[in-house]
Amino acid sequence: MTLKAVVNNVAQMPASADAVVDIQKLSLTFQTADGPVYALSDVDLKIERGEFVSFIGPSGCGKTTLLRVIADLEKATGGDISINGVSPQEARENRAYGYVFQAPALLPWRSIERNVTLPLEIMEISREERIKRGHEALKLVELNGFEKKFPWQLSGGMQQRASIARALSFDADLLLMDEPFGALDEIVRDHLNEQLLKLWARTNKTVAFVTHSIPEAVYLSTKIVVMSPRPGRIIDVIKTDFPKDRGLDIRETPEFLEVAHRVREGLRAGHSYDE
């Protein structure tokens, strides 16, 4: 097995017709009482089908905002963005993506099963089909047997897994994850990272993943997007080539450390500490 990390700059690669997300010259400015805040400026990015893309950068660099623009939870003020060839709003209305938030956001009055099948219920899918798909989604995150429990009866890690199952339940091809493991401890996070990677390898979904952890970004991704604040912009795009069935132990290999080093350099370059 050759564990050679091919590190090159994707920004210069030819555009593929198979792009799930295509962003050109995107900018987003919030108008506030203290004057405009430039959350995103001049962002160019393509996410291909089946890629696992991580967005990494310090707080306030616009990585969450970028994900929210892709999800149509925020409207861009300039530039072009298309999801599966259509506008973000159409993509949202077509239920093109599953979104996992920083917090589990499970509804406390619904059991885990009914939380996971909530999107299916909104899509007016029949009851039997909902239950079947709910079971499958819960099995993917190893939560089968907890269907009848209520969210507050589960630990934080299990709640976040349930929220991932909910995003998976309607089988969207695109998975948008906003620091889903940010509030969890290291051990649980490692375990969930491993599970997420297996899930991605098996289902061949496209994943956009926001994080501020360098090891997490390098371990999970096929492509790492390094961002910097004020204004939020992309300063480096790093492509990695670890095998799909990688284990946690690759984190000790020189190739891994090399990529991690490049990410760190990028973050350092984009960050000035004297602010």
Binding site: Y99, F101, L107, L118, I122, F150, W152
Partner: protein
């Protein structure tokens, strides 16, 4: 050297009971100039006092650590209460109770206080035992208050017009159930229930409309605030003019009273769902009604039930007060206003008791539904483990 911890309540009970044996039980009859009764004349109360001394002394030393001890104390106290009532009514102490009698009541008070305190702090993993303890505390407390009321009214000979004894109210209650039933039917079943349902229901629907239409929120909420500030005493006669003497005018008063609390609480509740949950629904392209029923109304339920509970008591007050301003010759408010005029104070109190019972039952029913409907809420969920 081990320090001995004396149980202060039992000590007080023992000393008070001992003094009760010594001090005169009753005052002097003004006509004959003789003491009406001595402790030695009434064997029952003498035995009860002696028991209190013994039990008090024993538990001062032992402490009331076990629930069994509390049970013994309460049994002694119940026996004492029974003998005190018997002494009042069977031996003519009523109206002439003396120092000894009140010391005995003080002794019983100390016992009951200590006993209920122990039961209230009782913790058991067995549901049945814990629940009986939970139910016993308010019942024991209520019965004790009624006893105290009875004893004070009878002991001091308070005139019935000022305050009838609970036993007199109870007798009147039982002997006039037909009148009470008719009043209940008129005031509660007809006026309160319909007014409550119309007031809360319309406010709920208006709240959803207000939430949907921004200008209503700005225009209607301040107006609603003004309506709720209208004095009920001023509105009730007008409602009687508009809707006639029967229950419809009372229902109208209740609608005015209950509308605003429900409106404000529901509007607040509809905004209770967090931004995160709203974003979540947006990612599923959930429409307005879907989000309303799946997210916002469930999240609003604790607020809605809050208003329903507030309104359950407001509605009864509204109906009774409104009946003071014109009514057919039936109804709880009508009865209270006329019987006061005829000095039938025990009947007034019977109506008050009926109102208290109905109000409590109404509130309890709403609270029960709330517990079932919002069992997920943090204030209830601990009980479900």
């Amino acid at each position: 050297m081990t320090t001995i911890k004396l149980d202060k309540f039992c000590l007080v009970a023992a000393i008070a009971a001992l003094l009760a044996l010594i001090f005169p039980l009753s005052g002097v009859d003004p006509e004959s100039g003789k003491q009406i009764a001595f402790v030695s004349d009434i064997s029952g109360i003498a035995v009860a006092m002696a028991l209190c001394v013994i039990a008090g002394a024993a538990f001062t030393w032992l402490g009331v650590g076990h629930i069994q001890y509390a049970a013994i104390i309460l049994v002694v106290a119940v026996f004492g209460c029974w003998q005190a009532i018997a002494a009042l009514y069977d031996y003519g102490i009523a109206g002439h109770a003396g120092t000894g009698f009140w010391l005995f009541i003080l002794s019983l008070w100390a016992f009951v206080w200590r006993g209920i305190d122990v039961v209230a702090r009782y913790r058991s993993l067995e549901m049945a035992k814990q629940q009986s303890a939970n139910i016993l505390v308010p019942i024991a407390f209520g019965v004790w208050l009624l006893f105290l009321w009875e004893v004070i009214v009878a002991g001091f000979g308070v005139p019935q017009v000022l305050l009838p004894a609970p036993s007199a109210i109870g007798l009147r209650f039982i002997s006039s159930t037909d009148i009470l039933a008719a009043d209940f039917q008129q005031t509660f079943i007809k006026a309160v229930i319909s007014g409550y349902v119309i007031g809360c229901g319309s406010a709920f629907i208006v709240a959803i409309a207000v939430d949907r239409v921004p200008f209503l929120k700005r225009g209607l909420l301040p107006l609603g605030n003004m309506v709720s500030a209208l004095p009920i005493i001023g509105v009730a006669p007008i409602m009687v003019m508009w809707f006639g003497f029967d229950w419809q005018s009372k229902a109208a008063v209740i609608v005015i009273m209950t509308f605003f609390p429900m409106l404000v609480n529901t509007v607040t509740g509809l905004n209770a769902a967090g931004a995160l949950e709203k974003d979540l629904m947006a990612t599923y392209a959930s429409g307005y009604w879907s989000t309303l029923f799946r997210l916002r109304l469930p999240a609003a339920m604790p607020f809605v039930f809050n208003a329903l509970k507030i309104n359950s008591t407001l509605a009864l007050i509204g109906a009774i007060v409104a009946e003071f301003f014109g009514t057919p010759i039936v109804g709880m408010g009508f009865r209270i206003s006329t019987e006061v005029g005829r000095m039938n104070v025990d009947m007034v109190w019977a109506e008050i008791a009926l109102a208290a019972l109905a109000g409590t039952a109404f509130y309890g029913a709403v609270a029960y539904v709330e517990r079932k409907a919002t069992s997920w809420h943090p204030s209830f969920r601990v009980r479900r483990h």
